[in-house]
């Protein structure tokens, strides 16, 4: 862990006013990503993982209230003006969303979108931008890249569209790529290819990455560190190996257990997590997971556990009744 810190999220909270009252989407989160490293953020829908990424990108809805600090590459993003932010997002802080159709313009050709991005942000002429676009498309594994330049997003498959979105994101050599559920809409075979591609490009460019997903299976072999989010908070954070070897949060364990296992016999009941996450406009007094937790005690209902460092360095969890260290994968 000698790499310098590239991104640091300090005590970030995001509040959204709703007709039902204030919704705390992100509840005082601290995170760090070092240059060239990968952080996985895992959690269910509504846990705040996407709002956190939008807070980092400064792309929150207008009505959202943001508190805390986001330091990226030495700059406090909350203090940057909109033009400086735009420049930063284009050049060094890139993003790929779940549905590439939301980031690609449906009425412009792939070529126009790539070439425009390059010409706006780099000092480059049309011919050079065109050549670079073709090279980028080839790098992300798109066959016949020259012909693709003339095609529109709807003419491509979902996997190909995600490759194009990635080519655009990578076009200005970003220092950090935020991939928000980049493969959730794709088939397993295409998912594996896109994840391989992300890993390859990351290594090649020595780029840092935040991989946001609801699937622990995706982060297992592809991240250096994992943060598990529940109801707006980070509830466990650890180096990936340590997290899977000795998970401490009952929620992390339950999330892992709920994934169907290929080596389980058919018709074996799945260990589902009963109930569902709490209403984010009605925050609980105690631990947000306590109503669904089989280890919950009286204290868990009264008091909110804070994220603290475990006996092992760099392993943080927010739980009064953590699992024994021998738990985790074998449990």
């Amino acid at each position: 862990m000698t790499a310098p810190v590239l991104l640091s999220v300090e005590d970030v909270a995001v509040d959204l006013p709703t007709p039902r009252g204030n919704l705390r989407a992100v509840d005082h989160v601290d995170l760090e990503v070092a240059a060239g490293r990968t952080l996985g953020i895992v959690g269910e829908s509504g846990c705040g993982k996407t709002m956190l990424s939008r807070a980092i990108l400064q792309l929150l809805p207008k009505r959202a209230k943001l508190a805390g600090r986001v330091l990226f590459d030495g700059q406090d993003l909350l203090r940057l003006g909109s033009s400086a932010l735009r420049k930063l997002r284009a050049r060094s802080l890139a993003v790929v969303f779940q549905d590439p159709m939301t980031s690609l313009n449906p009425v412009l050709t792939i070529g126009t979108q790539l070439i425009e991005t390059l010409m706006e942000h780099l000092v480059i002429d049309l011919a050079a931008a065109r050549a670079r676009s073709i090279a980028l498309l080839a790098e992300v594994g798109i066959p016949a890249p020259e012909q693709r330049l003339m095609q529109y997003p709807h003419e491509l498959s979902g996997g190909m569209r995600q490759r194009v979105a990635l080519a655009i994101a990578l076009s200005c050599e970003p220092k950090l790529l935020i991939a928000d559920e980049p493969t959730t809409a794709l088939d397993v075979t295409i998912q594996a290819q896109i994840l391989d591609l992300l890993a390859r490009e990351q290594r090649r460019r020595h780029m840092a990455m935040i991989l946001i997903t609801h699937d622990l299976g995706i982060v297992a072999g592809r991240t250096d560190e994992v943060a598990v989010m529940y109801a707006g908070r980070v509830v466990e954070r650890a180096p990936t190996q340590a997290l899977f070897k000795s998970m401490r949060m009952p929620y992390t364990q339950a999330l892992l257990a709920a994934i169907p296992k290929l080596d389980a016999p058919p018709h074996a009941p799945l260990p589902a997590i009963s109930g569902r996450p709490p209403d984010p406009t009605r925050p609980l007094e105690g631990c947000s997971f306590s109503p669904r937790c089989r280890y919950a005690a009286a204290r868990c209902q009264r008091e909110k556990p804070v994220l603290r460092e475990a006996e092992e360095a760099e392993h943080h969890y927010a739980c009064f009744n953590p699992l024994k260290i021998t738990a985790g994968l074998s449990a």
Partner: protein, 326 residues
Amino acid sequence: MMHGVAQALPRDPLLKVENLVVEYAVGAKTIHAVSDVSLEIARGETLGLVGESGCGKSTLGRAILQLRPADSGRVVFDGCELTALRGEALRKMRRRIQLIFQDPIASLNPRRQIGDIVAEPLAIAGHRDDKKRQALVEEMLGAVGLDPAIVTGRLPHEFSGGQCQRISIARALVLNPEFIVCDEPVSALDVSIRAQILNLLEEMKARFGLTLLFIAHDLAVVKAVSDRVAVMYLGRFCEVGPSEQLFANPAHPYTALLIEAIPVPDPDVRPAERVRVGEPPSPIAPPSGCRFRTRCVRADKRCSEEVPELREIAPNRHVACHHPLM
């Protein structure tokens, strides 16, 4: 000719599909969605149907329900040929067959109350007795784990995806069907909710004695609920077999590829840098011979010339491949 029969356990098939062909016309071109598929599903069995987007698995499900007319071939349900039925006779048979969709929120009418949504199949089927109808609706909502007193008067947007899928399941069960086509019922749900819904489907299957066709693109999900699995690629079956055997020992290279692509939640299992496997070609112009050959590492000249027939290579194991892995 009757080739490619996905042979059921040799007892009492509830559903038989014979040489089914479904094609869509797109301008002057034709999409070969389902090309000569045959299968049997035994009473009480769950057949899993897996494949990538566009492989024709949903079209096959819809053609079985007669929601999409077949271009040729037969669908026989409990001895009755559905493909020959029209009008009222077909409507009567359809009560015994139901469908659960992928997107639980979009498949519920946003302006109608939950109680009415679940009661609608009863109304269409001609249940006139309001009290009886309401009692049935309440029983079904309770069976899927919802409190009828709380949910009946509410609208779909007040519920989460998992709860909406429970409502869809209640609606599918209210006519007491025998056979349900589940078309990607958990693909839109989170891992934790997915496990709840899969468990619920298993519970309902046991309680109401259902037979299921379970369509999904996620092999691990399919394995969790299926007795047998059929793997589909570009409109044809690659492999059919008992799910445990098929996963332990895939015979078709495509099945092996699908299994390899599943992300494993164990950091010690490093995802291998895969052979470039590409994407499925267009179903408008499927490759000659074996349709999978353009992505297959074992493909040779024969694969481009000769369509591999689905044949039995071990008891109950059927594979359509010239160079199977076993």
